[in-house]
Structure formats: structure tokens, C-alpha cells
């Protein structure tokens, strides 16, 4: 295993995080808030650590999928640690685990908070929370790929480890250009949303925060009631952008290059929109009697559905109070999630569609045992390898889910709370039902539960395997062996 290269990538990620931490520092300067100093200290510390790790570019830059996974998992752990540090040392969030939870929830674009009252937080911290969403949404390593020239073809292994979806395709031949295109689309959409919000009467600071939180499909708000107190126009803008950020970004690439047929022919996007519309219709049907007018009803239904489906987690009403059918639809949508290749979490529409097609194929095989049929997706036959990996993914997902629910049950909350707490974190949604509903928070859980949920959030964001790899003893053995080998080589070199 190429330890030197993993260290180098980790260092680069820390450097970037350090630079990004200067964002809240600037906000602190603007709003004249003292907590900015803590952010500045952590930023300097990050840059220093990053600089130490990247002082020497490793000679051997080849790395394989395993290095990609390990580098990604470690980067995300480090990211959450250093992201939570300023909140802890500045005293904005008193508990250490709590600040880690908040940072992990931010970077993984979950938006689950342990804070009951966010309005008393410094605006510096609020901006940093929203920034973590924005950074985590597209992925920091994808950002790294876009700006740092890594030679060799193996950098696809990083993209594969961090990008959501069953198979990762490139838009253009070079990873670097692909990453740049993705980020440009991402930045473009974020800025458009920001302008629309600002024009709708939201203050500049709040529009920046909400635009970033929507872009990453995160869900940290700046008010205690999330988006309930904003005008219907602003709620509609956020609704539409939540849906848009759940769409596979390839579609935008095709639209930019005027390949409309390709963009609108994407099977996954079609299914995604179909599910969104159907869910809105059903929820609207259920909650219609609760609201004064149909327009209110449809707005709240659309907002909540797109918020949960895109795994954002904003809310305009407390959907925990909705009828049982509507609540159930919400929970089911959490699991589906949005498209692969977007910033959203969940299992992803493409996986669900392929899995459903596998079931259909299996049924057909009962009918005609010797029939041969290939599953098709996006107009192409799906490789057996992809189907297999999706099946394994779903099984692993179920196992991680079940084990987490068991661990969370130690809190002695009711089952609904436990199940939706895990569902909302592993799918990177944010709010669940009952005691973790939209108006409540995760603050009442024990430290241990919070750690379990931090794990779930990161595992969900990285799609399980990169993080689970860290728990495979083979990885550590190999890392230890190659570091020993490197030492020997180094010594031999020195002797020579």
C-alpha cells in the first residue's frame, strides 16, 4: 500500500480545509465577532499539518482502489475532526463529541443538529456550518482532483471512492477536467439560487447560507424553525433547487452542451422526477385537510417531499404531526434518496431501479427458467458486476442499519425514534420522526449514540465501503508492512 501517497492526499485535504476555514474568519471580521480568532487558529493549524504532510511529493504516485478508499475515509474523518474543532474550542458548542457530530453532520450534508437553539450562535459559526454542507456536497477530494495535478491514471480511484452512485462515469476523458466541470456547474447553480433568494427579500447573509445548504443538500438553517417563517416565494425557490440538486449532474452537462435529448433521456432522472411528483401528489392528498388553502397544502407537501427526497432536511412545517401515511411516505423517501452523481444521499434512485429490475427478471426466470435476459438501464445492458455490487450494497446497508438501530436503542427511546434517527443519518437527511422530528434535535442522545450516528453519517456519505475498509484488518496489516518496507528501503538508500 502506498502510505506516502495517502499521507500526501490527506495533507492536501487539510490544506484546503485550512484555506476554507478562512471563510468564516472573513465573516467574523465583517460582523466583528471574536470567535473568528478560534477559526483562524484552527485554520493555521490545518495548513501547518497539511504543509508538513505535503512537504515532499511522493516519488511513487501510483495508487489503487484500496488506497483511494483509505485516503477518502481518512480524509473525511480528518475533515470532520478539524471542522468541529473551532466550534468546540470557541465554546459555541460545549461538548467535544457534540461538535464532532455537528461537523460530521455538516460535511456529510446530513443537517442533523444537536443544537436546540441555533439563533444564538455566532454568524461566523452559522456560515461555517453552511460551508461544510457546500464542501461536503460535491466532495472535497473531487475538489482536490480539480485543482491539484496528480499524475497517472489512478486518480479515478479517488473519484470512485467519493462520488455517490453504483458506477462512476466521466464526462470528459480526464478526471481533472471532469471534476472541474462538476464544480463549475455546482458553483453556477449555487450562485443562481443565492441571487433568487436575495431578490426575494432574504438578507444577503441568509441567502448565502441557505444557498450553500441547499446546494450540498445539507439542511442546516440559520433559524430555529428552519424555513417556516419565510415567504412562500422563498420556500418555492428552495423547493425547486432542492429538486435540482438531487438531479444527476451529468444532465446539466448535457444541457450546457445542448444535448437536450441526452439530458432528458436519462432514465434515472426521469424516475427521480416521477417519484417526486407522485410523492407530492400523495402527500398533498393526505395533508390537504390540515391547511387552510390548497396552495398552502401543495407548497408544504412539495417542500417537505423534495427536502426529504433530496436528503436536504429543511422543513416548513412539522411533518411529524402529519397523518401516518404521509409520515410513512417521508421515511420511505429517505431510503430512496436522489440520483447518483448528485450531491444527495440515500440509496440512490439508480440502485433502486436496477434492484427492482433484478426482481422483475427473477420473476421472469420463474416463469421461463431457461430464459436469458439482461437488465437494461439508461438504454444499456447492465454489467453483471454492477448488479452484484448493488446487491451487496443493499445487504451491507441493511446490516449496518440494523446494527446501528440496535446500538441506538440503548437510549431507551421508542422504536420510531431509533429507526428514523438512523435512517435520517445514514441517508444524510437530517430530521427524522418522533423525538428526532423536524422541530426537535439529536442533543438528547448519549455520547455513544452520537458516535454511532457520526459513523452512520460518514458511512452513508461515502456509500459504506470506503469507511468499512478501515475496519478490515488486512488494510492495516498491509499499511504496516509497506511502511516497514519503506523504512528498510530508506535505510538501504542512506547506507548506499
Amino acid at each position: 500500500m502506498n502510505n506516502a501517497m495517502i499521507g500526501y492526499i490527506l495533507g492536501s485535504v487539510l490544506k484546503i480545509e485550512g484555506i476554507l476555514l478562512l471563510g468564516p474568519c472573513a465573516a467574523a471580521l465583517w460582523f466583528k465577532e471574536n470567535v473568528g480568532w478560534y477559526y483562524l487558529c484552527v485554520a493555521a493549524f490545518c495548513i501547518l499539518c497539511g504543509w508538513l504532510l505535503t512537504r515532499r511529493k511522493p516519488e511513487d504516485q501510483v495508487f489503487y482502489l484500496k488506497e483511494g478508499c483509505v485516503a477518502t475515509a481518512l480524509s473525511w474523518l480528518a475533515l470532520s475532526f478539524f471542522g468541529g474543532l473551532p466550534m468546540y474550542i470557541s465554546g459555541q458548542i460545549p461538548g467535544f463529541i457534540d461538535s464532532m457530530f455537528e461537523a460530521a453532520s455538516g460535511f456529510t450534508t446530513t443537517g442533523a443538529t444537536i443544537l436546540g437553539d441555533v439563533e444564538h450562535l455566532a454568524r461566523t459559526t452559522l456560515l461555517w456550518r453552511s460551508m461544510t454542507h457546500w464542501i461536503g456536497g460535491m466532495g472535497i477530494l473531487v475538489f482536490l482532483l480539480a485543482i491539484v495535478p496528480l499524475s497517472g491514471g489512478s486518480n479515478m480511484n479517488i473519484m470512485r471512492a467519493e462520488s455517490p452512485g453504483p458506477s462512476v462515469g466521466k464526462l470528459v476523458p480526464k478526471v481533472r477536467h471532469t471534476a472541474r466541470i462538476l464544480y463549475l456547474i455546482y458553483i453556477g447553480l449555487t450562485v443562481i439560487e443565492m441571487i433568487l433568494l436575495y431578490c426575494g427579500g432574504m438578507s444577503f447573509f441568509e441567502s448565502v447560507n441557505h444557498a450553500m445548504a441547499t446546494a450540498g443538500t445539507g439542511g442546516f438553517g440559520v433559524r430555529n424553525d428552519s424555513l417556516a417563517s419565510y415567504t412562500p416565494y422563498l420556500q418555492w425557490v428552495v423547493t425547486i433547487f432542492m429538486i435540482l440538486f438531487g438531479v444527476n449532474f451529468n444532465a446539466y452537462y448535457f444541457i450546457i452542451f445542448r444535448q437536450f435529448r441526452k439530458a432528458f433521456g436519462m432514465e434515472e432522472v426521469r424516475y427521480y422526477l416521477l417519484i417526486v411528483i407522485m410523492a407530492i401528489g400523495l402527500v398533498f392528498f393526505c395533508v390537504r385537510p390540515m391547511y387552510a388553502s390548497s396552495s398552502d397544502g401543495i407548497r408544504h407537501a412539495a417542500f417537505q417531499v423534495s427536502s426529504i427526497m433530496s436528503t436536504t432536511g429543511f422543513s416548513t412545517v412539522d411533518f411529524d404531526l402529519w397523518p401516518q401515511t404521509a409520515r410513512t411516505i417521508m421515511v420511505l423517501l429517505m431510503f430512496i434518496g436522489a440520483c447518483a452523481g448528485s450531491t444527495a444521499g440515500g440509496m440512490k434512485v439508480s440502485r433502486i431501479v436496477i434492484a427492482a429490475k433484478t426482481v422483475k427478471k427473477e420473476l421472469a426466470a420463474y416463469l421461463h427458467p431457461k430464459s436469458i435476459k439482461k437488465i437494461r438501464f439508461e438504454g444499456k445492458p447492465v454489467e453483471h458486476e454492477v448488479v452484484r455490487s448493488i446487491n451487496v450494497y443493499i445487504i451491507t446497508y441493511a446490516v449496518v442499519f440494523a446494527v446501528s438501530v440496535f446500538f441506538v436503542s440503548f437510549n431507551n427511546c421508542n422504536l420510531e425514534t431509533n429507526v428514523t434517527a438512523v435512517a435520517a443519518t445514514i441517508n444524510n437527511v437530517g430530521p427524522g420522526l418522533a423525538m428526532v422530528g423536524p422541530t426537535l434535535n439529536y442533543g438528547h442522545f448519549s455520547m455513544f449514540t452520537k458516535c454511532v450516528l457520526i459513523f452512520d453519517m460518514i458511512a452513508g456519505r461515502l456509500e459504506l465501503f470506503p469507511l468499512l475498509m478501515l475496519f478490515h484488518p488486512g488494510i492495516w496489516k498491509e499499511a504496516a508492512r509497506s511502511s516497514k518496507l519503506q523504512k528498510v528501503l530508506h535505510r538501504d538508500k542512506n547506507q548506499a
Binding site: 466521466k170 464526462l171 480526464k174 481533472r176
Partner: protein
């Protein structure tokens, strides 16, 4: 963003992920181009996209929809190197109709290769390459000068670059390059020396040792003078034994017969033997197993002047080479298609080795570089020597530039290190340049350098 082009990024589509296809991906991706590779076998595409930063596409490269998906409309170059000649030609034809790209096709069947010029003109192809034929030509050049390990030709065959190993007790060992120059009646230039695995672009004071491998350039007529002066015995090859009746064997036999060398081909397949005997009436075709020791002895491997195993299996070729080296004094040339375990192959000291995949890739890389930066000069040929550590590039000087019209000694200060102007071809006249010579418009100039990736002659300056 996607349409923005980096300085040296051409959009290239390669159809066929075989030996040559993957070598091309390796070399062209290394030079920074945007590559899309198409093959019908998903596994091959997977293997390539895992290892190189390129886009893979599974499908038939001759189909319109697949080419559209690969972005043929924006592509600059299409290279078709699938197994089948017809498919390659079809790919290029479709590509030319749909996009505005240049097209290169690999065509290796003798039926078509005779008409390659016609095909190239009629189909508007930028290049038609025939690796089998090039392999055969390279083998024939080496057989014409059996002491050499490698012979590559420049300036339309007027000049050659010869690689030699210096044996023990040879008089050249211990001499400096200046002394060598003084001893020679006509000029020849030592361009590169490999010693203990390290390659040097030597200066005049460099002293040669026994065991070194050197490359020198000279006009074709003067090569023998060089060899004779320094006692490199070179006896003519009068008869050659070839194992395997592949296309390359056919081309090689043809070249050799043309040069008056007797040819014997051992081929296992009866029908192929029949075909060969019709195609090559002057050659002796033997139907039998070329890996059979008794048969090889019967056919006189011990007495043959040259032995060329050209089977499709590298391991067999290597074993046959080692066997031939053991029991006979014949000059042996080994063909290696798939280059794995490079270090092991090198340690075997096989002597002359030919890599068809590199021959093809070099021709295409040369074309790509020339196309990418065709301003005042263009690349005519490109060879990689000493395991890709040294490049020999031939430039055609089309226009005046900062390197033309000045005596070389004036530019010497500003020239890059590890770079040598090896020869200048002026109207078919080969000049091995000294400080007083200069580069003029219309010349072709051959550069030997360790700075890989040169695209333009002006890059010789710092």
C-alpha cells in the same frame, strides 16, 4: 470548460484496446491528450480505464451512435487499431464522414497493404500503418548489418542510427569520442551510450568502455567504414531461418528474398504453408513444429547465418532465441509483442529485440506531435531508444526560426542539456554537423535527446 483546450491536449478517439491500442493509450495519455477508447469487450475497457486517465466506451467503434457518444464531432484524431483491417477502414470512413478529424488506420493484410497508398488517398486517411511490415523492415535492416543490435533509418533511409554492444578487447574500448572522430575518414557521431543500465548523451571527452552499448549515426555509406575501422566484424547474412508463418514472416521473407538472402520458413499449419508457398515461390516452406528441437537441427539451425523466431507467442520466441544462441552462431532477432516482465527480458541479453507495438505507437505518436504543433517545422519520424529513455526525432524545417541560419556553435550555450543534433539531411546529402554547420530551411534535422516529449525543433533551446 469542456471545450477549452489545454496547450497540448488533442481529443483523440482510439478504437480497439488490444496490444497497440493500450500502448497508444499509455503513451498518448502520458503526453497529455484527451483520449476516449472504444472496444467491444467491456473487460478490456475496464482494465484500461482503471490504469489510465482516459474515458472508456464499450461498443462497436464503426457505429455512428457509438462514435457520436465518444464525441467524434469534437475529436481531432481517430485511430483505428482493431483486429480486423476492414473494421479499421470502416471506422475511419465513418469518422471522416461524421466529424472533421484526421484518421489513422492499421492495415496489415498483404492484400490491402499493397494498396495502402491508394487506400490512404481515396479514403482521405492521414496515415495507414502496417506494424507487421514495419517489423519485417526493421528485422531486414538488422539482418543487413548483423553486428548491430538495432538499426533505425532516418532521412528516407539515407542515414541510419546503429546500436552496437562493445565486446571485450575491442579497440574502441577506452577511446574518447574525440579520438574516435579523428580516426574516422568520414564523420560519424556517437549519440548515446548505455553503461550499467544508465544512459548518457556523451560529450567529446566521454571515454567508452567494453560492455557499453553505443548508438551512432552516420550516412548509410559510411556505416561500414565505421564498423571496419573499429574492428566490428560484420559478415553478410546469406540464409535465414524463420519460425512461424505470420504476416510479419511473409513481409520479412519478401524483403530478404529481394535482397538475395535465402529464406526458410517453418510453419505448423498446413494450409498456411500452402498459401505461403504460393506467395513466396522462392522460399523454402517447411510444414512442421518450429519448437521441435530435432526439426530445427534437421533444417540446419546450427549452420544458419540468421534465425528469426516470429511466432505469435513471446515466450516461445524467447526460448527459441536462447536455444539458437546456445547451439549456433547465427544472428538472432526476437520479436516481443506483449511487453511484460521487462526487467526479466532485459536480463536475458537476447540481443536484437523488436517490439511491433512500439513501432506502431511511435509512428502515431510522431504524427500526433507533429499535428499538435505544426508551425515552422514538423516531425518526420520518432524513435524511442534505450527503453524509452532516449528519443530520436527527425524534424522537417519548413520556415525560418530562431534556430535556423546560425552556426551551431553560436547556439551551443543556449541549448538544452542531454541533447544532440545528430545529423542534417540537406537535399539527400547527409551532414554530421560540427560547430560551423547551421540548420537551414528545407533541411531535415535529427535530434537525439533525453528530454522526452519534444514537439518542435525550437525546443532544443532553453
Amino acid at each position: 470548460m469542456g471545450s477549452k483546450r489545454d496547450k497540448q491536449g488533442m481529443k483523440i478517439i482510439i478504437v480497439g484496446a488490444g496490444n497497440v491500442g493500450s500502448t497508444l493509450v499509455e503513451q498518448l495519455a502520458h503526453e497529455g491528450h484527451d483520449i476516449t477508447i472504444i472496444d467491444i469487450v467491456a473487460r478490456k475497457i475496464q482494465a484500461i480505464t482503471d490504469n489510465y486517465d482516459v474515458m472508456g466506451l464499450v461498443g462497436n467503434g464503426a457505429s455512428y451512435s457509438v462514435l457520436m457518444e465518444a464525441g467524434i464531432e469534437q475529436a481531432d484524431l481517430m485511430i483505428a487499431v482493431t483486429e480486423a483491417d476492414e473494421l479499421n477502414l470502416l471506422c475511419c470512413t465513418v469518422a471522416k464522414r461524421v466529424g472533421r478529424c484526421a484518421a489513422i488506420a492499421r492495415v496489415r493484410m498483404p492484400d490491402y497493404s499493397k494498396e495502402s497508398r491508394y487506400l490512404q488517398e481515396q479514403l482521405g486517411l492521414a496515415l495507414v500503418i502496417n506494424p507487421e511490415m514495419e517489423t519485417a523492415k526493421e528485422a531486414a535492416r538488422i539482418l543487413a548489418l548483423p553486428t548491430a543490435l538495432e538499426v533505425v533509418s532516418f532521412a528516407h533511409g539515407q542515414a541510419e542510427l546503429i546500436k552496437l554492444a562493445i565486446p571485450e578487447n575491442n579497440m574502441i574500448a577506452g577511446m574518447s569520442l574525440e579520438e574516435i572522430g579523428k580516426k574516422l575518414p568520414q564523420r560519424a557521431l556517437v549519440c548515446a551510450v548505455e553503461r550499467n543500465g544508465e544512459v548518457f548523451i556523451p560529450s567529446g571527452s566521454f571515454r567508452l568502455q567494453a560492455g557499453d552499448t553505443l548508438s551512432f549515426v552516420a550516412s548509410r555509406r559510411n556505416i561500414r567504414t565505421f564498423m571496419d575501422t573499429f574492428g566490428f566484424k560484420s559478415r553478410r547474412v546469406r540464409d535465414t531461418l524463420i519460425v512461424g508463418g505470420s504476416k510479419a514472416s511473409y513481409y520479412l521473407a519478401q524483403e530478404l528474398l529481394h535482397a538475395g538472402v535465402a529464406v526458410k520458413i517453418i510453419e505448423q499449419n498446413r494450409e498456411r504453408c500452402d498459401e505461403l508457398s504460393i506467395l513466396l515461390p522462392k522460399a523454402v516452406i517447411i510444414n512442421g513444429d518450429g519448437t521441435d528441437e530435432a526439426l530445427l537441427k534437421e533444417e540446419g539451425i546450427e549452420r544458419a547465418d540468421a534465425f528469426v523466431p516470429l511466432t505469435g507467442i513471446d515466450e516461445v520466441n524467447i526460448i527459441l532465441t536462447l536455444y539458437a544462441k546456445k547451439i549456433s552462431g547465427a544472428k538472432v532477432i526476437t520479436k516481443i509483442n506483449r511487453m511484460n516482465f521487462k526487467s526479466v527480458v532485459q536480463s536475458l541479453e537476447l540481443g536484437s529485440v523488436i517490439y511491433p507495438r512500439y513501432i506502431t505507437a511511435e509512428a502515431i505518436v510522431a504524427y500526433v506531435r507533429a499535428k499538435n504543433e505544426s508551425r515552422s517545422d514538423s516531425i518526420e519520424t520518432l524513435y524511442h531508444m534505450f527503453d524509452h529513455r532516449v528519443e530520436a526525432i527527425e524534424f522537417v524545417v519548413n520556415e525560418e526560426s530562431e534556430v535556423t541560419g546560425k552556426p551551431l556553435k553560436e547556439m551551443r550555450q543556449r541549448m538544452k542539456k542531454e541533447l544532440l543534433i545528430a545529423c542534417i539531411n540537406r537535399d539527400g546529402h547527409i551532414i554530421i554537423p560540427s560547430g560551423h554547420d547551421s540548420i537551414e530551411v528545407g533541411d531535415t534535422v535529427m535530434i537525439v535527446t533525453k528530454n522526452a516529449g519534444m514537439q518542435s525543433l525550437t525546443e532544443i533551446l532553453n
